[in-house]
C-alpha cells in the first residue's frame, strides 16, 4: 500500500505540536466528549493508584504496621517463599528455584527460531527429566521430596510445560486423523476432540481428581498432581489438535501430491513435508493456546493441587495480617501477566516476521 504523492509526509505541512494535540483531543464535539470520558476513567483509577503505591506499606516491622492505610506489600515480602515455592522444604528450595530457572532457559531457547528442530525436542526431553529429578530428588544425594510437598511457581510452570509438551504429539495424531480419509479414525478423532472441547476444564479436573482412581485397578496409585496433569494434557491435546488442523487445512495440496509423485511414504511425507509447513503456519495460534494453558493451570486450585495461586490463597489466610488477600492475588496476577503478556508479545514479533517475509 504505497501512499500517493498527495499524502506523502514531506509534502504535508507540519502543524505545530500543540495544535496537533489540540486537534487530536478536542478536534470536534465527539473527540472532546471522548477526551472527557478518558480523563474521567483515569481519575476514577486515582484512588486505586493511591492505595497501591502512595499509601502502601513496603516494609513494616510487625504485621500490625499494616492495619491502616494502603496496600500491604510487606506481606508479600514476608510470604514470598510460601507463595513461590509452597510447602517445599525450605532448605531444599534452591532446587525449586533452579527448576524455575531451567524452565525459563528452555523457554527462551525455544523462542529462538534458529534452534527449532529435532535437537530442540531432545533438549526438552533432557530438560524435563532434569527438572523432575531436581524436584523429586532421591538420587545423586538429593533428599527425596514427595509431590504432596511440591508447590508454588515450579508446579504452575511444570504443569503448563508438561501438559503442552505431552499433549502435542497426541494433538498432531488427532489432527491428522481428523483430516485424513479413514472413516473410523476420523470419527474417533472428531468424537474425542468435540467431547473434550465441549466440557469445562473444571469438569475434567473433577473426573481426574475424583473418578480416575475409580477407573483404574485398586492397586494403581497415581498421585493428585499426576492426575491433574493428565486432565490438563487431554484438555490441551483437544485444543492443540484444532490449531494443528487449521495448519493442515492451509497447506497447498500440491505439496502432498508432489511427495506422492516422488514415492515418499506417508509417514515420511508427514514428518518432513506436512508437519514442518503446517506448524509454521499456525505458530501464532499455538502461542495463543500456550497462553490459555498457562492461565488454565491455575484451575488446579479447585481440586486442591498446591500451585502458585493456592499457595497465595493459603498465605492470605494468616490471621496475623490484616486481610491481605488483595495483595496476594495482585502479586500472583502480576506474575501471570508478565508470563502471558511476554508470550503474546513474542507471538506478535513472530507474526510480524512472517508478514514481512510474505510481503517481500
Amino acid at each position: 500500500m504505497q501512499s500517493t504523492v498527495m499524502t506523502s509526509p514531506h509534502l504535508r505541512r507540519k502543524s505545530p505540536l500543540v495544535l496537533r494535540i489540540a486537534k487530536a483531543f478536542f478536534g470536534d464535539l465527539l473527540g472532546a466528549c471522548l477526551t472527557l470520558l478518558s480523563v474521567g476513567i483515569l481519575l476514577a483509577l486515582v484512588p486505586a493508584f493511591k492505595w497501591a503505591f502512595i499509601d502502601a506499606h513496603w516494609y513494616v516491622a510487625t504485621p500490625q504496621g499494616c492495619f491502616s492505610g494502603g496496600a500491604c506489600w510487606a506481606f508479600i515480602g514476608s510470604k514470598l517463599r510460601l507463595i513461590l515455592f509452597g510447602l517445599y522444604p525450605p532448605e531444599e528450595q534452591w532446587r525449586a528455584a533452579l527448576v524455575v530457572g531451567v524452565i525459563l532457559i528452555m523457554v527462551l531457547l525455544t523462542a529462538w527460531p534458529r534452534l527449532w528442530g529435532a535437537r530442540l525436542l531432545a533438549l526438552w526431553a533432557v530438560g524435563i527429566a532434569l527438572m523432575l529429578v531436581l524436584m523429586a530428588g532421591g538420587i545423586a544425594g538429593l533428599p527425596p521430596v514427595p509431590t504432596s510437598k511440591w508447590g508454588g511457581l515450579p508446579v504452575t510452570l511444570l504443569l503448563a510445560t508438561l501438559s503442552l509438551g505431552m499433549a502435542f504429539p497426541f494433538a498432531v495424531i488427532l489432527a491428522l486423523a481428523r483430516r485424513g480419509s479413514l472413516p473410523i479414525a476420523r470419527a474417533i478423532a472428531i468424537f474425542l476432540i468435540e467431547i473434550v472441547r465441549g466440557l469445562p476444564l473444571v469438569g475434567l479436573l473433577f473426573v481426574a481428581a475424583i473418578l480416575l482412581p475409580l477407573f483404574l485397578p485398586a492397586d494403581w496409585t497415581i498421585d493428585k498432581l499426576g492426575r491433574t496433569l493428565a486432565a490438563l494434557t487431554i484438555f490441551a491435546a483437544a485444543y492443540l489438535a484444532e490449531v494443528v488442523r487449521g495448519g493442515l487445512q492451509g497447506l497447498p495440496s500440491g505439496q502432498i501430491e508432489a511427495a506422492q509423485a516422488l514415492g515418499i511414504p506417508y509417514w515420511k511425507t508427514v514428518w518432513h513435508i506436512v508437519l514442518p509447513q503446517a506448524i509454521q503456519k499456525v505458530i501464532p495460534p499455538l502461542t495463543n493456546t500456550a497462553i490459555v494453558m498457562v492461565k488454565n493451570t491455575s484451575l488446579v486450585l479447585i481440586v486442591g493441587v498446591f500451585d502458585m495461586l493456592s499457595a497465595a490463597r493459603s498465605a492470605a489466610t494468616d490471621p496475623a495480617w490484616p486481610a491481605p488477600s488483595k495483595e496476594a492475588y495482585l502479586f500472583v496476577a502480576a506474575i501471570y501477566l508478565v508470563i502471558c503478556y511476554g508470550i503474546s508479545l513474542y507471538s506478535r514479533h513472530l507474526e510480524a516476521g512472517i508478514n514481512a517475509r510474505n510481503r517481500s
Partner: protein
Amino acid sequence: MFDTLWYSRKLRVWVAQIALMGSLAALIWWIGGNTAQNLTERGIRTGLDFLSRPARFPISETILHYSPEDSFLWAFIVGLANTLWLSALTILLATVLGLALALARLSAHPMLSRLAAGYVTVFRNIPLIVQLLFFYGVATSVFPPPREAWTPLPGIYLTLRGAYAPDLFLSSSGSWLLAAIALALILTLRIAWRWPTGKALLPLPARLCAAVALWLGASIAIWHLAGRPVRLEFPELNGLNFRGGQHLSPEFCAIILGLTLYTAAFVGEVIRGGVQAVSKGQWEGGRSLGLSERQIMFRIILPQALRIIIPPMTSQYLSTVKNTTLAVAVGYPELGLVVNTVINQTGQALESILIMLGVFLTISLSVSALMNWLNARVALVER
C-alpha cells in the same frame, strides 16, 4: 489429500482401523470392569435412585425456589438454573462492554484507544480464577458493615455483606403494563427513525428526542392512571442488616464482575478483529459513492464484519458458559458447586459428575448447532 497413499493399501488400512476400534472398546471395557470392582469393594452405592431422595443441604442463593426438603434432582436443576442465569447475564453485560471496548480501540482518539488496549492486555492475560478470587477478596474486605454502608447512588448500598439495590415491585397488571410500555418505545423509535425524510419537519436526532419525550410523557400518564402498578421497593436498614430491596451477595457480585470484565476483553477483540478484517476498499468504495461514514459502517462494514464475528463469538459465549464453573472457587452455588456438595453428601461421585458433564455437553453441542444454523443464514446473504 492423503487418499491415494492410504487407499493403495485398502485392506491393511481397514484392519488397522478395526484394530483401533477394538482396542478402544477393550479400554472402555477394562475401565468399566475396574470401576464396577472398585465400587463394590469400597461399598459405594450406585444407581440414580438417590435423585428422588430429599437433598437436606441448603443452597445459599437460587433463581428457582429451593428448600432442603427438595430432592437431589431438584438441587441439580436449581444449580443448572444458576449456571444459566450467570451465563446469560455475563454474556449480555460482556457483549455491551465488549462492543464499547471495540469501538474505543477502533476510534482515532489516541487516549481512549490506548486505555482500551491497556484494559484488554491486563484482563486477557490474567487467569479468570485469579480475578474472581481478587474481586471476592475486595468484596469481603473493603466495604463497611451494613450500618455504615456506602451509598454511591440513592437506594444502592454497598456493604461487607454484599450490595443492596431497589427492587422492582410488580402487581399482576404491572408486568403487562411494563411490556406494553417497552413495546411502545420500540414502535415510537421505529416510526421516528423511518419517517420519510421529505415530509419531516425535524432532523433525525431531534425527531428521536421528540419521540422519546412523547413516549415518556404518555407512559407516566398511563402509569398514574393505572394506579401505579410498578414501583421501586427500597432496601431499609433494620437493626444490623438491610431488609427489602434486592440483595446481591458478595459471591454473586464477585463472580458477575469478574466474568463480565474478563469476557468483555475477549468479546471486544473479536468484534475489533471482525471490523478490521473487512477490507479497506469497502470503506473507500462507500466514500466514493458518497455515503456518510455512519452509512458505510452500518450498511457495508458491520454486515460483513458480523459474518466474520459470529463463529469466534459463538466459541466465546460457549467458553463463558463453561467458565461459570469457576464460581466454585468463590462459593457461588452454580451446577459445579452443587455437584461437589452432592458428592460430599451421597458419595455418588460417578453419577453426579456424569450428570454435570452431560449437561455441559448438551449445552455446548446444542449452542454450536444453533450457531452453525445462524451462521449459515448470515452466510447466505453472500452471493
